[in-house]
């Protein structure tokens, strides 16, 4: 009779034990969770702290970069003004010497004066090219729709060197519109055209052809000349940064480097094909404008 009661009480005892055990386990789990949460909060705080540090670092680095750009600008400014002034003086004094005292000099003396002037001019050109290079590097080249046809015809109209009787420059057909930066592209084409008319055999009239072809997404412009051409060993080097070729090319290579840098910054490419005595074909490739060939 009591058996059931005893059994029941034992049962109850067991149950209470189990409940207590469960409770203890639960408490342990809660403690664990709390610990985990605390750890998570610490990690989050650390992460936030780290992000803040990183942000600070970015701000710091940006400021440093801005400072460098500012210094570069100051440097270019100083180049324009300070380095060019003595050259202007050299060139002008030798010219005045020639004009005022040329009668007292023999041919060798006059030749020396001419060489002084030419050297000063060449250095002036080099300084301007280096200046242009620093501009190409730091300017914000925003890409826009550029009507290459209008741009090139404008360049040809503005410079007598590109017109009859000095040179014959022909644009074949209507050039397509591309994605580029108008100012940078003007600089690139001017450089290529100047080069195309500059290096011709004596007593040869420069003849330059400008054409374009569509190559998939890109438009390739060709500037073909009847110049002295470029030996194969120089072809690969011509667009390399400040590569020194033969003396007759002095000063030109910074110009080519500027073209390459500018075109690359506009997402394009440059290249050249040439053979000595057979002229050169420079090309410049840029992304076609959205509506392709303008009507």
């Amino acid at each position: 009779m009591n058996e059931a009661l005893v059994l029941g009480s034992v049962r109850q005892h067991e149950l209470t034990d189990a409940a207590e055990k469960l409770n203890a386990e639960l408490q342990a789990e809660i403690a664990q969770r709390k610990q985990a949460e605390a750890a998570l909060r610490t990690a989050q705080a650390q992460l936030a702290n780290r992000a803040l540090q990183l942000e600070g670092l970015v701000t710091q680095r940006t400021a440093k970069l801005q400072e460098t750009i500012g210094e570069l600008e100051g440097f270019s400014y100083s180049i324009t003004h300070d380095l060019r002034a003595p050259l202007r003086a050299m060139s002008s004094f030798s010219q005045m010497l020639e004009q005022g005292y040329g009668g007292k000099l023999d041919d060798a003396g006059k030749d020396f004066l001419r060489r002084i002037r030419e050297s000063a001019n060449r250095m002036d050109k080099l300084i301007q090219d280096v200046l242009q290079y620093s501009q190409v590097l730091r300017l914000d080249l925003r890409l826009e729709h550029v009507d290459a046809d209008k741009l090139l015809r404008g360049i040809l109209e503005s410079y007598q060197d590109f017109q009859e009787p000095k040179a014959e420059v022909i644009i074949e057909g209507r050039l397509p519109a591309v994605l580029g930066n108008e100012a940078a592209l003007t600089q690139c084409f001017s450089n290529l055209l100047n080069n195309a008319i500059k290096f011709v055999a004596p007593a040869t009239k420069p003849r330059v052809g400008i054409s374009a072809e569509r190559r998939g997404e890109m438009v390739r412009f060709w500037v073909t000349d009847n110049g002295i051409g470029i030996a194969s060993q120089y072809l690969g080097k011509i667009f390399e940064t400040f590569q020194r070729l033969e003396t007759s090319f002095a000063g030109t290579c910074i110009g080519f480097t500027n073209v390459r840098k500018a075109v690359e910054r506009m997402g394009g490419q440059v290249g050249v094909e040439s053979e000595p005595g057979k002229g050169s074909r420079f090309w410049l490739e840029l992304k076609a404008a959205a509506n392709g060939i303008t009507p």
Partner: protein
Amino acid sequence: MNHQPILYVEDEANDVFFMQHAWKQAGILNPLKVVTDGEQAVQYLSGEGKYAERDEYPLPMLVLLDLKLPKLHGLDVLKWIREQPAIQSLPVIILSSSNQPQDIRTAYARGANSYLIKPPHADGLMELVASLKDYWLGRNQMPPARFPD
């Protein structure tokens, strides 16, 4: 015919020499008054110190202004001129070796009347001075004096 001077603000001694040479070659009768930094330009124009002697240093009819000058930058000289009621419409021609768009833009924004790049040779300067004589000293109508003589 009165020959009011032209004030030439230039720190580069050689450039001053070439300008005086070209001035003579061009046969310009207006005297060329030279000051060699930005502060001197301000002193000359405001008649301070020795420049108070207006018989010796009369107010110029035109200013030829270099940009990169010691003490006070050419663009600041220009700004100062435009802030002076007595000389605010004095014609100012910038003559600089800088072809930087930023310089040219700021010069015009601050009221330059013309912006010329220093020619790289003596010949070029001769041509520039000849055209200056023809245009600025010949054809151009200068702002009338504020009070009739």
